[in-house]
Each structure stands twice: as structure tokens, then as C-alpha cells.
């Protein structure tokens, strides 16, 4: 069963990646030029920023861009597949819904990997922040874990929205909530108390805090890392349980 799920996910990811044959230029622009351009613009805007502000900004960019890419990407991709009738095909095959979701997520994860792997060295040079090579690896692991935990939310939105437009509206709304409630650009204390619970239930909070501390103090906070891992498990379980594959 697990072997079949993994093998099908691999095949679907191959199908999805083949789409890059036609969309290679936009993919390269998004993956390479956007981090480069954004870092450059921020370096122009922030000559007087202190190190903490710069690190807050960098960790915010890493965590938020990856989480929003996953939620919007997966949610809208699935909704589009539904409206195009591609899910009808997959549903008639002996394919598990999890294989489909993991398969289509692969392109986004590749994009996030390239994005993060480029953003950190570019930003560290342009913003004058010293970041060891090992921290790039740690950041990528953290970003991937929080992205994986958010896949399920995107999949629920994609499979349960009435139509493509609804999926876009919901993913956009969720993106705003995540961007607001993740203490990336500011501390948790800056978030109004009545909304602070959102910080505690979002894996992006832990991800942002881990990355900030690694860059600031050069240390991994293992307890935060464990919290992130444990938090991602229920997220994934809820997400994959909530996918609506068979029509009611």
C-alpha cells in the first residue's frame, strides 16, 4: 500500500514536472529573479536597518513566501484540476488521493527549494548578514517541514471548494491570516492579544522563530524544532483526512 502510494506520487510528480517543459521561463523567473530582485529592492530600502530587523525580514520572506506558495499553489492547482476535469481521470484510477496531492506538490517544493537556496546567499551578500552554509541547510529543512504541514490545508481547500473562484478567495484569505499571524516581521507581543492564539496554532510561527534564532545566535533551538515537527503531524493528518476525493 505505502509502496504504491509513494510510486504513484512519484509518477504524478513526474507528470507535473513535465509541465515545466512549457513553463520553464516563468518558473526560472519566479525561482531565481524574484529572490534576486526582492533582495536588491530591500537592500536599497534598508541601508539603516539594524541586524535584527534585517534577520526578521529575511526569515519572514523565507517562511511566508514558502507557506503562501504551498497553500495558494496546492489549493488553486487542485481546484483548477477539478474544473478542468483532470481529477475525474485520477479518481477513476487506482490512485490514492494522497499520492495525487504529494505528486502535484512536488513542483512547488522544488520551486521553494530553489527559492530558499538562492534567497539566503543573495540576501546575505546584499544585506550584509553573515550566514554560515550549514544554516542554509537548516533553513531549508525548516521551510520544507512547515510547507509539508500546510499541504493538507491547500488540498482541503482545493478539493472542497465549490469552484475555482471560491478556492482562490479562500486561499487568499488564509494567506492574509498566515501573513498577519506569523511573528516574522514583528514579535508575538506586537500581535493583538485576541488574535495571538493564531500564532500558537500556525507552524509558520515556529519556523520563523527557529530561523531567526539560527541567524541571530548561530544555534538551533531544538525544543522549537521538535514543536514544529509535532505540530506538523496533526496538520498533515487533518489535511489528508479532510481531502474530499469521492463525490457525495
Amino acid at each position: 500500500m505505502i509502496k504504491k502510494i509513494v510510486s504513484d506520487a512519484f509518477i504524478i510528480s513526474k507528470i507535473t514536472i513535465l509541465s515545466l517543459r512549457e513553463a520553464l521561463i516563468p518558473f526560472i523567473i519566479v525561482s531565481i529573479f524574484i529572490p534576486l530582485g526582492t533582495s536588491y529592492l530591500v537592500s536599497l530600502a534598508s541601508p539603516n536597518w539594524n541586524l535584527t530587523t534585517k534577520i526578521d525580514y529575511l526569515s519572514g520572506m523565507l517562511v511566508l513566501s514558502s507557506s503562501l506558495t504551498i497553500i495558494n499553489g496546492v489549493g488553486q492547482y487542485i481546484a483548477e484540476d477539478r474544473s478542468l476535469g483532470l481529477i475525474s481521470w485520477y479518481r477513476t484510477l487506482p490512485v490514492h488521493p494522497i499520492s495525487y496531492v504529494i505528486g502535484i506538490t512536488s513542483t512547488y517544493l522544488i520551486g521553494i527549494l530553489i527559492d530558499s537556496a538562492l534567497l539566503i546567499p543573495i540576501a546575505s551578500i546584499l544585506w550584509n548578514i553573515h550566514i554560515d552554509i550549514i544554516y542554509i541547510g537548516i533553513t531549508i529543512i525548516v521551510v520544507i517541514i512547515q510547507s509539508l504541514s500546510l499541504i493538507g490545508l491547500g488540498a482541503i481547500i482545493g478539493t472542497r471548494s465549490n469552484n475555482f473562484q471560491t478556492a482562490i478567495a479562500i486561499t487568499n484569505l488564509l494567506s492574509y491570516v498566515i501573513a498577519f499571524a506569523t511573528p516574522a516581521y514583528y514579535s508575538i507581543n506586537a500581535i493583538p492579544e485576541e488574535f495571538r492564539f493564531l500564532c500558537y496554532i500556525l507552524p509558520t510561527t515556529e519556523a520563523a522563530l527557529i530561523i531567526k534564532r539560527v541567524y541571530m545566535y548561530g544555534k538551533i533551538n531544538f525544543s522549537l524544532f521538535m514543536v514544529l515537527i509535532f505540530m506538523s503531524i496533526p496538520y498533515m493528518l487533518i489535511g489528508f483526512k479532510g481531502i474530499k476525493w469521492r463525490e457525495k
Binding site: I12, S19, L93, V95, K248
Partner: protein
């Protein structure tokens, strides 16, 4: 139980599907399909054909009733039948950036074939459906008819015992539709063990290939039988089209001759539906007034709807 399962590859018992908006799409459907049969499911738009197919393929949950395919309870275990079926969905779409061959190959892999077997299967299906010369083309470069053939190709991967074709000719021009049914005839000859369930609007097309016809209207089976039986039950099997200007006079004379008929009016022409036995007299009468006449077979919408609505009475 086991005996009829062996005989009947598909068994549907009292199937009911009521959507959340209260629409009764299938109303106590009972159906049995034998191995190797080609069953045509006909009915007007919204009759419940696609809903029935979606429940048979395990895509849609029935409200009530039982479905057994090859002895597997589809309602309880929909994923268990997937390896045994091939489906050409009505609203399915192909992947624009994949080539014809890649479609067959990757869907073959998802049906559990190894890399080598999927390649061999692709060769076999491309040959069977005359798609070899198009194998490297991307889907966007294909005509509607060729795309439909790819749909069928995907449904046939790994020789499933049961193939569901939901409105496979919808939106195609008559020539392409004819090509498509020739392909189905070829499959019937080369793979006689394959059971095919096909839905369509076009009665005359199913005449050629199907062993049995099932008519659905408003979610219920209203007529069932082999093509000869069904033909004998349907009174109107000829359509004569003539200019609207002659409606009054021709109608009067047909009634005088005691001919049963049905009229469908459009902007400037009249479609006269009648039985073959009345055709010579009707033609003689019409030719007395006009030679601007087209004779054809009526479509399902024209003939079958008349039958199920009891519209024969209109002509009396």
C-alpha cells in the same frame, strides 16, 4: 449470489441518487450486465446517465441501493474496482502539455504497470486506435476526434474487463463520430471479452455496436431491450424535413390518411417523424406539394422523447 455474479459482471439493485439540492438523479435503477456485453445507455440531457456511470465507477456515493462489479461491493469499497475498470469520463480533460504517448504511458504506470509494460501497452493501444502517427503530438495539437480516441485509449489501458464510456461522442461532428464508433466496433471484434457501458444521445449510433439498449428518463429506466426489441417499441424511425410553408396542407392530408406522426417545428422548416411503414404514402403526399425534402433518421431527442412523453397521441 456467486452464480449470478459470474453470469452478470455488473449488478445494480434499487439504486437511488438524490443530490443535496433535492434533485433525484437516479430513481430505483435495476440493471444487470453480462460479461462481454455492450450496453448503450440512452436518455436526454439530465436523465441521470452520467450520475449512474459515476456511481458504477465509484466516483459518486449513491443515496440508496447496491452496486456489485465482479462481485465487489462498489458502495462499500469503491477503490477495489479501480484496477478492473477503464473509464472515459464525460467532462474529463487531457493534460495539455503531455503527448499522446505520454498519456498512455503515465496512465498505464498509474494503473500499476511497470515501465517496460507501460511502454509495450502504449505501443499496443496506439496501434489499436490508429494513433501511432500522432504519438509525439501534444494534446493541444489534436483534433476533437483524436482527443476522444486518446480518452478511449486511456480507458483501455491494461485490458480492463469493464470499460465505461460516458458520452464519448459529445461535441464531435458526424464524420468523427462515425470514426469513433468504428473504433468501438474494432474493439468489440478484437476484445470480445470486454464489457462496455456507453452513454450517448445518439440512438442511431448505438444501433450498430450495442447488444442492449437501456433508456433512462428522469432518473428511471423506461425502456430496455436489444436493438430490435427497442426499435419495435419506438414508433417513429424516419424523419422527413420540409419547408414550413407546407405544414398546414401536408398535416391535413396525413391525418386524412390515418398516419401516426409527430411534428417538430423550427424557424422555417418542419421535421415530420413517422414509422417506416407509413413512409411511402407520406412521401407521395409531400412530393405533391414540394420536392424540397430531406429524409434522415431521427435523433434520440426527436423520437425517444416523443415515446416517453406519450406524444403519439398528439398526432391522433
Amino acid at each position: 449470489m456467486v452464480t449470478y455474479m459470474v453470469k452478470n459482471i455488473i449488478v445494480v439493485e434499487n439504486l437511488v441518487k438524490i443530490y443535496s439540492n433535492g434533485v433525484i438523479a437516479n430513481d430505483h435503477i435495476n440493471l444487470r450486465v453480462r460479461k462481454g456485453e455492450i450496453v448503450g445507455i440512452l436518455g436526454p440531457n439530465g436523465a441521470g446517465k452520467t450520475t449512474l456511470i459515476k456511481q458504477l465507477t465509484g466516483e459518486l456515493m449513491p443515496t440508496e441501493g447496491k452496486i456489485y462489479i465482479m462481485d465487489i461491493d462498489v458502495v462499500k469499497n469503491p477503490s477495489a474496482i479501480k484496477p478492473f475498470i477503464g473509464v472515459c469520463p464525460q467532462e474529463g480533460n487531457l493534460i495539455s502539455y503531455l503527448t499522446v504517448r505520454e498519456h498512455i504511458y503515465y496512465f498505464g504506470r498509474l494503473k500499476g504497470l511497470s515501465r517496460n509494460d507501460a511502454q509495450k501497452e502504449a505501443d499496443k493501444i496506439l496501434d489499436l486506435l490508429d494513433l501511432k502517427q500522432h504519438q509525439k503530438k501534444k494534446i493541444g495539437e489534436l483534433s476533437g476526434g483524436l482527443r476522444r480516441r486518446v480518452f478511449v485509449g486511456i480507458a483501455l489501458i491494461n485490458e480492463p474487463p469493464i470499460v465505461f464510456l460516458d458520452e464519448p461522442t459529445a461535441g464531435l461532428d458526424p464524420i468523427v463520430r462515425n470514426d469513433f464508433w468504428e473504433t468501438i466496433e474494432k474493439i468489440k471484434k478484437e476484445k470480445p471479452e470486454t464489457t462496455i457501458i456507453v452513454t450517448t444521445h445518439y440512438l442511431e449510433e448505438l444501433d450498430k455496436v450495442s447488444d442492449r439498449l437501456v433508456f433512462i428518463n428522469k432518473g428511471k429506466i423506461v425502456l430496455e431491450g436489444n436493438t430490435i426489441e427497442v426499435r419495435s417499441l419506438i414508433n417513429y424511425d424516419i424523419k422527413i424535413t420540409f419547408p414550413k410553408a407546407f405544414k398546414e396542407v401536408i398535416t391535413k392530408e396525413l391525418l386524412k390518411e390515418g398516419i401516426n406522426f409527430r411534428l417538430n417545428e423550427s424557424l422555417n422548416k418542419i421535421d415530420l417523424l413517422l414509422s417506416k411503414k407509413d413512409f411511402p404514402i407520406a412521401m407521395k403526399l409531400i412530393f405533391e406539394h414540394t420536392s424540397d425534402v430531406i429524409v434522415s433518421s431521427p435523433t434520440l431527442d426527436e423520437v425517444f422523447l416523443g415515446v416517453i412523453k406519450g406524444d403519439q397521441k398528439d398526432s391522433k
